[in-house]
């Protein structure tokens, strides 16, 4: 109890509050710009967190992620261009409202729905993460090895149309993650005699290159087809009923919000699915259960509520597998895992044992970030609407320069800048040929833990190949891994037929 109170008090310290506030504010602003999403913003801002305390750093990044989720709705509603993939379903009812002059109302509904979904999911996370982590403590190296194998297989399907290309990407991530000093022999491995590689590749330049730099290279190709800034200027009507969401309208969506939050939590807690799945699934359910489904897609508030509450509910829930098992379920969480590691902590069940005060501080920051999102969104709505109008010819060069300097900032090393540029090019090719950079990055992050578990299994079993068969949980997880692979291939063959 003392730890809980101490953690919560830490989250209320002025420094922590300021960083969470700045994180949410920045997240909404960058999320509103089409082409910049939450994980990309986290990758760009992680180098700054080197200079913060662990709680301020995690609070800042969590705030950034939460803000970006809502920010994505701004350009979705105003431009019909979702700022983030998960906001795509928001465009269907948000943009028609903008065309009717009710853009501000649509954005307010998106904000209230986002905050509701986020708040419910954060509450669930706080209630179940610590007890589940206690159970997860009973998992040994065989279970961890099997679990990470399963996670890598499931995650291979993210961001690609083909699981085989996803598996190639995940395997490539594992391979790149093994560059550096081998843990058992303490000798260099796959370093090609370059001494700079002996400490391994740092997450920051790899993530900035894959997520941000390559994305901007692709966005620059599409520059001519982007919606003009004038399009966003024809939005708001002055009538109060077109600007504000009444209590009746909001509470009329209660069932939709609760259902959407439940879907978001369920999807978020399962590695590999992600927020876009949650918002589409939730929108589909809202449509099926609506009394007047014909009104969906023409500017129905319920449509916005279903999409936004679901995708925001994913944020808190996706931290459950990270805090309980040390498995990142999606890209944003993978980046947060990287931030934990930068500050010397390994996410997983031991986190509650070793850093319980910090963890309760993080929980406090999550709740505070939800409140800040409500305040910042409510009072800064018109300001953020300007963010969608920033000319790309000004924005993208600055983002490219920030990528380069961000890679440098991590370790004050120009070598990291070169690594970032190399991974920017790799990311560009991966996107063009549909190899999942998400799977690559998660493989890269998870490989040290995976290899450590494997080494522990081999050493403790004394080369007994039947050790796995004496651990039922490990057997089940490995069977699930093979099932996922075989099922995907069978489904692929059936689809082809």
């Amino acid at each position: 109890m003392e730890m809980i109170l101490a953690g919560l008090m830490d989250s209320l310290s002025p420094v922590s509050l300021i960083f969470v506030f700045v994180g949410v504010f920045t997240g909404v602003a960058v999320g509103a710009v089409p082409g910049i999403n939450g994980p990309m913003a986290i990758a760009l801002f992680i180098p700054l967190t080197y200079y913060m305390s662990p709680l301020a750093a995690i609070g800042f990044l969590v705030g950034l992620n939460k803000g970006a989720f809502f920010g994505g709705a701004i350009s979705a509603v105003l431009l019909r261009t979702p700022g983030t993939p998960e906001a795509a379903a928001t465009t269907w009812d948000g943009f028609p409202l903008t065309e009717q002059g009710k853009g501000e109302k649509a954005l307010r509904m998106a904000l209230f729905s986002s905050v509701s979904g986020d708040f419910i999911s954060t509450a669930v996370l706080i209630l179940i993460a610590a007890p589940l982590a206690t159970v997860a403590l009973y998992m040994g190296p065989p279970e961890m090895f099997a679990l990470i194998s399963l996670a890598l297989t499931v995650i291979a399907g993210i961001g690609t149309k083909s699981i085989s290309r996803g598996l190639i990407a995940a395997a490539a991530g594992l391979l790149v993650g093994m560059i550096g000093t081998e843990p058992v022999t303490a000798l260099p491995r796959l370093t090609f005699d370059l001494y700079r590689l002996e400490s391994g590749l740092s997450l920051i330049p790899v993530a900035i290159g894959l997520l941000a730099f390559s994305e901007i290279l692709i966005q620059l190709e599409r520059l001519k087809s982007r919606a003009s800034s004038e399009e966003a200027a024809r939005t708001f009507s002055d009538k109060p009923e077109d600007k504000y969401v009444s209590k009746k309208e909001f509470f009329g969506c209660t069932r939709t919000l609760l259902r959407a939050s439940a879907i978001g939590i369920g999807v978020g807690a399962m590695p590999g699915l992600g927020a876009p799945v949650a918002s589409f699934l939730s929108y589909d359910q809202a449509l099926k259960r609506a009394k007047r489904p014909e009104e969906f897609g023409k500017g129905r508030l319920e449509g916005i509520a279903s999409s936004e509450a679901a995708n925001s509910a994913v944020v808190g829930a996706s931290l459950i597998p990270l805090f309980v098992l040390g498995i990142p379920g999606n890209l944003a969480v993978a980046m947060l895992m990287g931030a934990f590691m930068i500050h010397g902590m390994m996410p997983g069940p031991l986190l509650f044992e070793e850093n319980s005060q910090l963890m309760y501080g993080v929980f406090g920051s999550l709740v505070i970030a939800s409140l800040f999102l409500l305040i910042i969104g409510k009072f800064g709505l018109k300001l953020f609407c300007k963010a969608v109008q920033i000319p790309a010819v000004m924005l993208y060069p600055v983002v490219i320069f920030t990528c380069i300097m961000g890679a440098y900032l991590g370790q004050s090393s120009m070598f990291d800048v070169i690594v970032m540029l190399v991974f920017g090019v790799i990311g560009y090719f991966m996107r063009k040929f549909d190899f999942s950079y998400v799977a690559f990055l998660i493989g890269f992050i998870l490989v040290p833990e995976w290899e450590r578990a494997l080494q522990q299994v081999v050493i403790t079993s004394q080369y007994d190949p039947f050790l796995f068969f004496r651990r039922p949980v490990a057997v089940i997880l490995m069977c699930l891994t093979f099932f996922v692979i075989i099922r995907t291939f069978v489904m692929g063959m059936k689809k082809k037929d």
């Binding site: 200079y51 149309k161 083909s162 395997a171 093994m178 010819v393 060069p397 320069f401 004050s412 494997l454």
Partner: protein, 160 residues
């Protein structure tokens, strides 16, 4: 297809040369340091070969290629947010050369002149033509970054 051929060749090269040469010898306990790299590369190799076989079979049977087997499966977006389009090496080179020159420039002429030149050139390449705005944005960005590094984070400014 092209990507899978490159991956196959790279995997063979890794298995036959890079892993044997640049991996420590087995120390006599635990798993071999080469085990996980070999597993990872084998997965890449098997998946790439399977994709090539599927492609060849589809061509032989004159069946139309599925979206998954085409060279640019995600050309129109869908699995991710961005519509990625086709490979444009000219575009890539146009932005990578200034970035590489910036790295060299920071080492040779220092951070401020090379960063200014980089931002001026980049804005021009992106399509900005208002020189007042271009210069202002470059100066402000470089100055802010310099101040952040020197006074904010206390890290050495690169090249200085």
């Amino acid at each position: 297809m092209l990507a899978n051929v490159v991956i196959t060749l790279a995997s063979v090269l890794l298995l036959t040369w890079a892993i044997p040469v640049y991996t420590p010898a087995y120390p006599g306990y635990g798993a071999s340091p080469a085990l996980v790299p070999i597993v990872a590369v084998s997965v890449m190799l098997i998946m790439a070969i399977l994709a090539i076989i599927r492609y060849v079979l589809a061509i032989k049977s004159n069946a139309p290629l599925s979206e998954e087997e085409s060279t640019y499966p995600d050309e129109g977006g869908g699995s991710g947010f961005t519509q990625v389009g086709r490979l444009d090496i000219g575009h890539l080179v146009k932005f990578m050369i200034p970035a590489a020159l910036l790295v060299v420039g920071i080492h040779t002429i220092g951070y401020i002149p090379s960063a200014l030149a980089f931002l001026l050139l980049l804005q021009f390449l992106v399509g900005a033509r208002s020189w007042i705005k271009i210069v202002l944005l470059a100066v402000i960005t470089v100055a802010l970054m310099y101040a952040a590094m020197r006074y904010g984070f206390g890290v050495p400014v690169p090249g200085n």
